[in-house]
Structures are given as C-alpha cells and as structure tokens.
Symmetry: D2
Subunit: 346 residues, 4 copies
Amino acid sequence: MSIAKRPSFGSDYLEGAHPAILQRLVETNLEQSAGYGTDTYSESARNKIRSACRAPEAAVFFLVGGTQANATVIDAILYSYQGVLAAETGHISIHEAGAIEASGHKVLPLPQTNGKLSAKDICHYLDRYWKDETHEHMVMPGMVYLSQPTEYGTLYSLSELKEISEICHRNQIALYVDGARLAYALACPENDVTLPDLAALCDAFYIGGTKCGALFGEAVVVPRHNFIPHFFTIIKQHGALLAKGRIAGIQFETLFTDNLYEKIGQTAIEAAGRIRNALYDKGYKLAIPSPTNQIFIELDKAQLAALSDKVELGFWENLDENRIIMRIATSWATRKEDVDQLIASL
Amino acid sequence: MSIAKRPSFGSDYLEGAHPAILQRLVETNLEQSAGYGTDTYSESARNKIRSACRAPEAAVFFLVGGTQANATVIDAILYSYQGVLAAETGHISIHEAGAIEASGHKVLPLPQTNGKLSAKDICHYLDRYWKDETHEHMVMPGMVYLSQPTEYGTLYSLSELKEISEICHRNQIALYVDGARLAYALACPENDVTLPDLAALCDAFYIGGTKCGALFGEAVVVPRHNFIPHFFTIIKQHGALLAKGRIAGIQFETLFTDNLYEKIGQTAIEAAGRIRNALYDKGYKLAIPSPTNQIFIELDKAQLAALSDKVELGFWENLDENRIIMRIATSWATRKEDVDQLIASL
Amino acid sequence: MSIAKRPSFGSDYLEGAHPAILQRLVETNLEQSAGYGTDTYSESARNKIRSACRAPEAAVFFLVGGTQANATVIDAILYSYQGVLAAETGHISIHEAGAIEASGHKVLPLPQTNGKLSAKDICHYLDRYWKDETHEHMVMPGMVYLSQPTEYGTLYSLSELKEISEICHRNQIALYVDGARLAYALACPENDVTLPDLAALCDAFYIGGTKCGALFGEAVVVPRHNFIPHFFTIIKQHGALLAKGRIAGIQFETLFTDNLYEKIGQTAIEAAGRIRNALYDKGYKLAIPSPTNQIFIELDKAQLAALSDKVELGFWENLDENRIIMRIATSWATRKEDVDQLIASL
Amino acid sequence: MSIAKRPSFGSDYLEGAHPAILQRLVETNLEQSAGYGTDTYSESARNKIRSACRAPEAAVFFLVGGTQANATVIDAILYSYQGVLAAETGHISIHEAGAIEASGHKVLPLPQTNGKLSAKDICHYLDRYWKDETHEHMVMPGMVYLSQPTEYGTLYSLSELKEISEICHRNQIALYVDGARLAYALACPENDVTLPDLAALCDAFYIGGTKCGALFGEAVVVPRHNFIPHFFTIIKQHGALLAKGRIAGIQFETLFTDNLYEKIGQTAIEAAGRIRNALYDKGYKLAIPSPTNQIFIELDKAQLAALSDKVELGFWENLDENRIIMRIATSWATRKEDVDQLIASL
C-alpha cells in the first residue's frame, strides 16, 4: 500500500476502479475491436448515456481527464475572441495550470459563494460588457462554466440552473457544466437536478468517471445535434483521443448498466452523511455547507494532530496560525469500517 | 466481439492489455494511493525504466497517448519561435490533426525514404537555414523528431542515430524520438539501437505502451537532469496529467518487470517473421522493406477480396485503380492460430 | 542616406511614402479625430475602396503589415481544426516566422510553379483528403492562400483565379489573396484580374500599401457582408489595431483618390519593362518569367561584382558555386535616371 | 475635421504627430534605406534611447502599438507555463481583447488602488503560490506588469518601484513596465522615476510613442544584454515587424533629439495643471488623485450636458443614475486657447 495503513479520506480518487469495471475489462480483454471509439462497447455506452439523459440526439465522447475535457470542450465551443465566465474558485480558474489560456481563451473570473455563481452576477457582467463603450476591445464572454457539484461540494438547484441557462441562451452564449463528481450530486438527497435536466439546460456537460469509480475517463455530452462540428478532430488535436477507445467505452457502459453510477454515488453520500452527523454531534465546525461527498471542517493543530494518527484527511487551507480547513472526501470505495474508525477518532 | 469473427491484423492496438497488466491492476485495485504519479507504483516504474535505460538521472513521466506525448514534449522543449524538423510522413506531420501547431509550433517537413530522415537532409536544411540572409524571418529549427520504428516499420541504425544526434547537438537543437512501437524495434533482430543508446543520444524519447501491451500510456524519458524544468506543470497545462497516475505507473512497472516489454516485442516480431516468410515464398510484393511488426503488401482487388474473407487487414493506400497497399500488423496479442489462418489464406 | 550612394533596386520598400500621402498627413495633422478607424478619413477610404472593388457590402479594415494581415485574416476565418493550403514558396509558408502556426493553424504546403498553385493540385489535395479514411485525424483544409502577384512576381490569370475560386467554394473552403504588391499586378499589361474580380472571387484579400507607396498599411477587404463577425475584436486581439486609425485611413484615402494607386503601379511596371527589355537585349538570363515589378536574373560572380559597383540589387538565391539569382525590384519611387544607370551598367 | 468643432479632451491620441516628426519624415522621404529596422535612423534612435536610459547594453526595438508591444514582450519573456501578474484594471487585464491569452498566457489579476499594485499584494500572491501544496497545478507567476503612469494617471514612486523590483528579482520573475504614456510621467513634478531608473529596475519596458507625439510606435527597451534571445524573430512571428522600420526609427530619433520627448510631456502636464487648478477652485470632485495628463472628474448629467456644448470630454464610467466619471486628457497637442475655453466652461 502506497500510503500508510491509516484509511485515507484525502480525496475521491485514491483507489483503482469499481470492481465491476475491472471485471468487464478482464472479460473483454482479448477481443479485437476497432480504435478511436468506433467499437461496439463505446457505441453501447453512448446509447446508454443518451438514454439516461433522455437526449437521443446527443453526441457523446469519452475523454481521459477533467482538465482535458474542459480545455477541449471550451476551445471547441468558443470563438477565438471569446472567453469563459467562471467562478474565481472554479477548477478552470485555478487548478488547470492555464490549460484554457493555452488554447487562447481567457477565463473571466466572477465572484462566488461557496463555489457557486449567481444568476445575478452573470447577468450583471453580461449587461456591463454589452453596455461598455469599449467592449469591442475586451474579451467577449462566450460561455458560462459551472461545476456540479462545485469544487466546494455545493449544488446548484434546478431553479438556479434554469435561471442561468435562460440568461445564457438569451445572451446567445453557451452553458457548460463540469461534472467531475456528478455521481455525488445525483445521489444527494438535496439535489433536484437530473441528467435529463442537464441535457435540457446545457450546451455541453461531462459525466465524471475518474472521481466516480472509473480508472479514468469523462463522458462529454453535447445534447443538441451537431452543436460542435468536427469535435472528433478537435479532440485529436488536443491530444485527447484514446487509441483504444473501448477502454473508456467499456468503463462507461459498465457505469450505466444496472444503475451502477447511481449506486456509486449513494455509497459515498451515505458515508458522508454518517460522518457529517458525527461531526455535528461532536460540535465540529463545518467551513462550507456542502451536502455532497466532500466535507470541509475547521480544526486546530492539536485536533488535526490527534486525528491524523488514526485517519488521513486532505489539506485544504490555512485559516490562521492555529486553525486549518481539512477536507474529508468519501467515494464509491469508502468502507464502513473506515468511516467507523474516522468517527471514533473524532 | 466488436469486429467480425475473422482474426484481424488491422493494427497493433486491437485488444486490451497484456494479461499480466490487468492482473496487477486487479491485485492493487483497492489500495489507496496518492494521485498524479506520486504513488509508489509510479516511482517503482520510473526506477525500472531509469535502470533499463542506464540513465539514473532521467526524469520519467507517464502520459496517456502518443499525440499527447508528442505535443507536450515538443511544446515543452521548443522556444515559441522554434519549429520541429520531421519526415513529411511523420506522425506529427500528418496524423495528429495539427496538435503541434495548436501549441504554436511549425512542423518543418523534410523528405524521407521509407519513413526515415537522412542525416544529410537534416544537415542540409540546417546549413541552408543559417546561411539564408532572411533566416530571422523564418521559423528557427529547434528539434529533430524521429520515430523508431518509423510509421513505415523501418528502423534507424545505431550509426544513423549517432550521426543525427551529433548533428543536432552540434547545432544546439534537441533530438526527440517517438517510440510508439518501440518494443517492436527493440525485439527486432535487425535492430542495434538499445534503450541505453536512446538515453545517451536523445534529449527526450518515449517508450510506447498503448501499441505495446498497455491499456494506454507512454513513458516519456528525459535523460538529462532538469532538461525540461516544470514539466509536471506543462503536462497539466496540456490536459495530459492523469489523476490516478498509478494506473499508468502499475502498467509500466509490469512492462518493465521480468522483461515483459521485451517478450511483448518478441511475440509480435516472431509472428511478423513467419508472415513475411510466407509472403516471400508465395511471391507477394512487399511495398516497404520493414523489419518490424508492420508489413506492407501490394495486392490487387481480387487478391484483397479473397483474403478479406478469411482475415482482416488494414487499408494503407490506393496505388491505382486495381492495386492497393494493405498493412498487416502483429502485436503482443497475435495468436499462432491466427497467423496460421492468415498464411493459409495467402 | 543609409545605403551607399548607388541607387538601389534591392526591394520595393526602400523609400518613405508617395509624396501625396505625406502631404495629406501634414495637411490634416492637427485635426482631432476619433480613434481606431472610426474617423471620417478612414470611412472615406473604406468607401473609395468599396467603390473601386464594386463591392458596396464589403467590410474594409486597415492593418499595418503583411504578416500581420495574413495572420489575422487567416485566424479569423479558419476554425481551430483547420489549416490553410499555400504554395510551399508562399510568404506564409516561409517568411512569416511561423505567425500562422502561432495562432494554431497549420500551413499545408502544396507544390508550385513559379510561385503559383495550380487548380489541379488544389483539387487533388482536397480529393485525397476527403477520401482518406483517416482524414479526421488530419488537419482539415479550410482555406486556399494565394498571392497576387506571387512572391516570384508572377500572376494568376482571371481564368485561373476563377477555377480556383470555384474549387474552393465547391469544397466550402475560403479563398484568400495576399495582395502585398497588388498595385504592380493591376498595372501590368499581362494582368486581367481587376479589383472587382478579386471582390467577386475571394472571401477576403488585402490591397497592399507598404510596398505600394504607403508608409505602412494593408487594406483588408471582406466582400461579403458579415463574413467575419467581430473582426474588430480579432484585430485588437492580434495586436493589429491602430490607435490613430486615421493614419492608415488618410493613406488609403489618398491612394484611392485620383487613381494614385494605379499610377504607382504604372511607374514601377514601366521601369521594370525598360529594364527587362535591356536585359533581353544584352542576353541576360531571367530565372523566372515574371511580368510585374520584380525581375530575377542569373548572374555569375564576376557579373555581379561589376554591377554592384554601380547599383544595388537584391540577393535572392545561390544557384551554384559561381551563379547567383539576384532580384531587381522597381517601385512607385524608381527614378528614370536610376534605371538609366542600371541599364548602362548591364 | 472628423469631430465637431468643439475642442476635444477625449483622449491623448486625437491628432497626428508632433510637427517636428512629420518634418523629418518629409525631409528623409526619398532616401533609400534597408528594411526591418536595420537602417541608420533606427540605429541612431536606438543609441539615443540607450543614452537617455544610461543603458549602453540595452536592446531597443520599435513596435507599432501598445497591445502589440505588451503581447510580444510578455510572450517573449514568459515560459509557456507562466502567467503575468497585473492590476485587475491593467490594460492587459481588460482592454487588449485577450491578446495575452491568445499567445497562451494567463493574466493573473491582483487588487489595485487607483490603478496601482502594492508590493505587499505582489509579495502575498507569490508567497501563497509557492506555499500552496497544489501550486504545480496552477499557472506559475513569471512576471509583474505595471503601467507608468497607470491607466488612472497615477504614478509609482521610485521607492515603490524599487521595492517591487526587489520582490520580482528575489522571486526570479521579470518586471515589465508599460509606458504608453511615459512622457507624461517623466514630465510630472510628482514623478521621481527616471528613464535610467526604469532601465536599472525593469527587465523590459516600453517608451510610448503613439500617445506621446508619434504617428504610432512604441520603443521596447530590454536593458540587459541578450535577455530576450531572438526577439527579432519573435516580433516577426507576432506580426509586429515593420517593413519600413525607419518610419518608426525616424520618429523616435526625433523624439529623443533636443529633449522633444520631455517637452511633449511638459506641454501636457502644464495644461493638465491649469485645468486641475481650475477644477479645484470651482469645487469639482476629482474621482482619482492623478497627477499626470489624465484628470477624472465626477459630474452630474446637467453639468455634463452644459460642458459638452463647449468641449468634448471622454466618457469613463457611470457612477449611478445621475453621476458620471468623465476623463479629461491633455497631450503634446493641447492648445492654450482650448484649455482657456474648457476652464471658462466649467
């Protein structure tokens, strides 16, 4: 084991893949299939995703990782003179090493609350842009980027998403949702945004695999027919085309068979729920009101040291000399006994 | 099976992974490990590769695919005003959808023979460039890109590689080798270029996994210490950083344990040898004198139709109305009985 | 004088501007006007150009130089996954330091004859591309780039241009003409392509100012309404927007008043005609059959040394140890007495 | 006249060029000179600038405009994985249409006060970046961009500039100063930063011409020898190389002869001083304490309407329904009688 024997809650991508996925990779391993996503497993996976999204016209593409998916989709949709509006805490704003700018597009940062953009701030930005006499000298906003759940584990409600979608389409800009942890939103009792809602309201979104039970892989869904012409070539140009496309296809086919994607989410959400209840009971302070699989707690150094003997948490942020925000992430792979151990250590 | 029951020789990435790789993924699946290549499997894989290359200072990075590796390495090494010399048939020249140009660098095409550049042509280009009074208005050559074996299955000899390396370093430009099918060069009796040779002569090269037994993955080797500062961030910026880095690490650790990478090459080369002998015996015309796992044969339409009932070949090029070049590719996964069937069908 | 007292025929941008242009700059100097091309001089210049092109719907933009105009227009028209077909001797292929690639687009080189592309080669490339089974892995051709006159001083005839335009539009790709030296084509007796022809056949072209009598400046003409949306912002993004747009506007207004642009061409063409006749008479060998303001002659070293005492020519290319191609360029500023001196020196 | 007969204080680039510049262009017009800045005027201008900066080793390049200079210099200095720190109100942050991002670099916005960055905020950002455990996933700060004077007409003091320079060099990042309006800083009594100070403290800066008396042109100064290798080719690649380089060279030679650049600044600063005194006397509220040639005043709509009958001001920003910030800009071309008229109208 590459980390000490303590169970880790450091992130939601600590293990390999859900065993059902590995099993399918083993079963199909010696079959021969065509490359680049033209195989029957990928086709089947695409159909299952279209069906789950009630989007029969949707184009579905399997990319390897989140930064890659974001950079490729955003570059594919924007014109060269356009930028993308995102929360200043959004993954593309901070943690993608400038991948969006590397393809020539500015990330236009907006203020956020608990990782979320407000319809009002988006509206205000667009209004100011178009009214500014010098707007032709500025980067034209061409897209809104959201993450569901956000980097802080929070959720957009259906009514919030509808309002933002309406603003985007009234302003003729695209709405794109980063669903790196989408399984953990879909399984969350507080959530009222379904896959068909995303397909109805977004111009593109991706269903996260890497953090939701796959070895790797993100399924980009483009609901409207031919909304991104020649996306295959764009993916290739971004170095994002898998030769053995079936490896992603088999994974997503498995995730969308027998509700596995839902179950993966539920396992994580139930574990997070137990932990959250224990934290409330014991009087810990939660830094962010996140209902999904990420929990952010404030600890002082002594508390952290004590906890760290028993379980590994994820460092998030120093608040001051003595207080720290730590992240507890659960996943499809979180074991009941490890949650017990964490709770016992609190 | 996603292709008809005929065995296919259409490419060398038709199957999943070598069973030993899948087995290791299954064995390690529920272990928890740190992300982004900082896990112990990746570290072990890096050490084994350093050892195989006799390059103890080498930096080793695991990327997902060939186009991605090429685009990332080339962009990392070149200055913004530099381009890369490559055979006009090179993978980066034609089949990467402009990935090199997408990061701002021109591919400077050179003439080739059976996919190979000559030292003389490289030298001539560099001399002409530097003597041209207007060279400051031109793209400065900053790198030579070779593939070993080439896209046509041919090989650079050690003396050829040494000569090209010497030219590059005399001209203070980098030498980079694309080893997408490197296992099939290393196992080839005609080959005299070893991994330590590549490490000694190149500024960077990659050891191909996708076409040599892995689910995916290419190991980029940068022999000299700190030759590419901040390459981690550059990889991230190119959308090429795997969150679950261990999935690549475990694969390469397995490939470099018990000589698996060599054996994979040998299986393919032996199969190709048998097929090649049968083709000679039966008087087929080989379009290119390739000693590795790719065989290019000229067929007329009747021959092709007859063969295609029994085995699947890969389309390469139309020669004229009636004659076609087809590719036969073997791999680690090529089965003796399928080779028998192919030979019987000739 | 910054070059020795010998008259120079080294290029067509050795002097400042046509005196009529300087005079207008002086006359209008202290007027106050709005920036970025919104002034009345620029508007008047645009109207005169629309009128000369018989293209009342045309958008006209004034950029500073040729490389800048090419890079900006090509980037504005192409999608991110598209490249531009150009003669392997085209300015964008060689002498723009990779400006096209710097904005992410591959220049797809085609063979040429005396600097010209043939309709047949363009057709052949497009056919092969679309028939290639792997074309989705390749850069999609999105534009044909021509120069009129070419870098070798040669001309496309109207029938050639019509044929290429027809091929482009049948294949739904753009046709763009670089007119850096357009005045010298328009004034050439051999030429049958007018400004209205260019406006009718091209998707964009530019009317060269820098080499045709202006201090600097190129007028980009986009004949069809709104063919390049938001081109103003694209120009700004390329660093190609003049704050004092009127400086370009006044120059082009002057060039398109009282047929000055024609006269500028005629002066150069007449001088070139006299020189060409003298060269024929004296048995010099012309390297390229160019009818415009550039003459390419083969000289041996002794001839060159003798000539260079009297006049300055432009170096073009070494043919072998002893023979050299030199360029003689005339312009709007070429003086009769300098031509006399050149002819006397032959 | 392209704007109504009212004198305009709308910007500092309303007129052509200082008459001394036009006169030199006329005098030298028919001389023949080599291109691309290799002429003797450009060489003389470079020497005069080196001398004014007491930077005998400095490389000096003449570019056309400010956005172009910024995009070219920043791209030349940064590595592909680096971004540039700038005030969120900086020209590159807002008004360059994403030119910095178009060459792949993120502008990292910092808070500002009256357009100025503080050493403390820069320091804080750098410290946080390097201490962040995930900083390798982020854009690495590689440069600080300042403008002197700022977009709000304010000035960095010598001690402030020294402190920022010290921070940059301790952190091994570059310091770059945008001097679009540098003449108006240099002539300002409040200013204590000289050209030699800029050369001593910055890695690159530009001396603005467009807004300081030239038709166009910015002189980029790189004080340390070979700090930007192959900058000529980088300029060409950015479409920023003037064919007739002498047109810029003659302008800057004139600006740096007989202290013309200083005088240009003084004219503007004296005019601004008179206006500012009148505004104080009459109780107008200045929105920003700017000592240079830009004055920002708060007006209500009635005041604005009354003033606009007599003089033209520049719109800056709406404060609320009734109150507006307007900009008054003076320049080398501001006439005493126009200032009188403005003051009389207050």
